[in-house]
Amino acid sequence: MLPSFSVLKKNLKNNVDSLKVIKIAILADTASQLVTQAIKGYGIENKVNFEIFEADYNQIDHQIFDPTSELYKFAPDFLIILKSTEHLTKHFYTLDRDKKENFAATQIEYIDVLYQTISQKLNCYILITNFIELNDSVFGNYASKVVSSFSYQIKRLNLNLMDYCQNRNKVYIIDVDSQITQLGYQQTFDPKMYFIADMVFNIDFLPYLAKNIYDIILAISGSFKKCIILDLDNTLWGGIIGDDGIDGIEIGNLGNGKIFSELQLWVKQLKQRGIIIAICSKNTEEIALEPFKTHPEMVLRLEDIAIFVANWKNKADNIRFIQTVLNIGMDSMVFIDDNPFERELVKKEIPEITVPSLPEDTAEYLIFLKSLNLFETASFTLDDEYRTVKYQKEAERSFLQNSFANMDDFLANLEMVSEVKPFLGFNIPRVSQLSQRSNQFNLRTIRYSEQELIEISTDSNYYTFSFSLVDKYGDNGLIAFVILNKIDESTLFIENWVMSCRVLKRGMEIFTLDYVVSNAKLNGFNKIVAEYIPTKKNTLVKEHYSSLGFELLPNNQYVLDLNIYKLGTQNFITRI
C-alpha cells in the first residue's frame, strides 16, 4: 500500500541531512504545489532528499524561454514537465478544423522547441507527462474515424511523443495515461479541485503520481530491480507438488490453473526483457524440478531459470546464496512468496530486499504485482541483454557445481586459465579497486591507492603478482593479487593477499601460492612469512594460511618452509 498524501506531507518535517540529494525542477501548466509536496514526501519516505525548485503557476514557457530564469539558475538533475490534458483540451477546442487535424504534430513541434531550448543550457534529464486518452464525448465512439476529433489527436500525440523520445536518451515519458487507465479518471480527477484551484489530480492520486516519478528518477540514477525470486507451491502453481504430485498441481486447465499460467507468462516476459528469474522453494529438489521438466502446461522451463534452489533450509539463507551467485545487490531483488511467514522472515533478515505483501486471493496476484511497477528501467539495450547472459553464466557455474557430486570433477570441467602479471600501468587501477572493495578475502585489509601501487611496483624490495581468471563461461577479469615484501635475503613477507569472492573454492588459492612459491625459490628465498589481521568481515580467511600448509606462529603469524612445500597439488587452472 502506498502511504497517503497526509503521511507524505508529514514527512516534510523530517530531518533530511543524511539523505542522498537529487535536484529536481517542476514546471506545470496547472497548480502543482501539492504534487511537489507529494514528490518531496515520497522521496523522504524512501530515503531520498529531493531538492525541488517549483516554478510559479503556469510558467513552463517563461522558465524555459527566458535564459535568465530561475530554472537555469537552479540547474536541476531532473526537469519534470507536467502538462495537463484538461488545459490541452481547452486549447484544442479553440482551433479550426485544419489546425485540429494537425494538432498532434504541432504539439510535438512545440515540445521539440522546448527541448532544444532546454538542451542549450542544461544537461539534465527531462521527464514529461503524456496525455489522458479519454473520449471527450463530442463524436462518441465515432471519434476514432474522425481525424479532427480530440480523441483521435490525443492518441496520436501520445504515440508521436513516444516516437519523439526514441532517439533522445535524456527525455523520458511519465506514463500518467496508463496510471489513470488503471485507477479510473473519476478516481483521479476532482472537478471541484480543478475549478477552484486548477488542480488536475485529486489528493488520493498524488502518492501514485509521486511514486511513478520517483521510480523513473531512481531507475535513471541506477537503482532498479534485476532479479525476481519466486516460490513454487501456491505461487507459481496451485497446490503442493510434494503432496499433490505432478498430476495434481494447478496449472493450465486444471482447477485454478489459469491464474498461475498467466502469472508465469508475465514472468517469462520479464525474463525476456532481462530480469533474472530465480527459484527459492522449500521442497525436495528432484520433486520441485519435475514440473519444469515434464509438465506439459508449464510456461516457465528450466532454461528460463537462472538459479534454482529447492531445499529445506531457511529461505533467507537461500536468498543470500542466490545473491552471492548472481553477485548483485540485495536491493535489486524482489522476493515473491504466498506464505506470509516466509515473507516476514526474509524481510526481517534481509531488509534491503523488496518483498510484496501478496493479496490473499491468488487470482489477484498478477494485477497486484503489475500495479507495483517493480521493474522500472531507464534503458533497454544490447548491453543489458549481454549483462543478463553474464548473470546466467554465473548461475550455470553453480548449477554445474551442483551437478557434479565431486568438487574436483566440477573444477576440472571449468577449463580455467589464469594469467599472472606483475603490477603494471594497465592493471594498477584494477588492483587498487580490488584492494578497496574486497573485505572478505583480504588477509590484512590494507587499502592501496594507485599511487602507492606504482611506488611498490618499482621498488626492488617488493614482488607483486596479479591474477586473472577465464573459464568456459566467461572472463572474470583480474581477481586476485599478492604483494610480497623482502625481509632479508632468505625471507619474504606477504604484505597482503586479496581475492574476489566470486572465484572462491576453485583452487585459485593453491594456484596463487604455487606461483608465488616457485617465483620465490627462483629468486633464492626459502621462507615465506605471513599474517592474518582479523576484521569483522574477513573471518572467511581465518584458516587460510593453515589450510595451505603454513605453520602457525604466535599472534596470527604464519611461516611456510619453501623446501617442504609441495608444488602442483592441483591442476585445474592452467597458466598462460
Binding site: 504545489q33 501539492l34 472537478p191 471541484k192 477552484i196 484551484a197 488542480m199 485529486n202
Partner: protein
Amino acid sequence: MDKKEILIKINEIFKNILDNKALTIYENTIASDVEDWDSLNHIQIIVAIEKTFKIRFTTKEIHHFKNVGELLVAIESKLA
C-alpha cells in the same frame, strides 16, 4: 451527529491538515483568523471533510462559506 460532535471532528481535521496541534477553531472562526488557512490548505480541508463525513460539497457551497459555523450547518444538513 450534532453540531458539537461535528465541530470536534472538524477540529481534528484542521489540526491535521494545518499541522498545528495547538489550534482550536470555533463556529465564528474565519480563514483570516487562522495561520496557514490559505486556499491551498482550504481545498485539502474540504476534501478531508468530505471523506470523513462521506458527503460531497458543491463548488458553490465551498465558495460561499463565510465562517466555520456555515461549514457546520452545511455538514449537518447533508448528514441529516
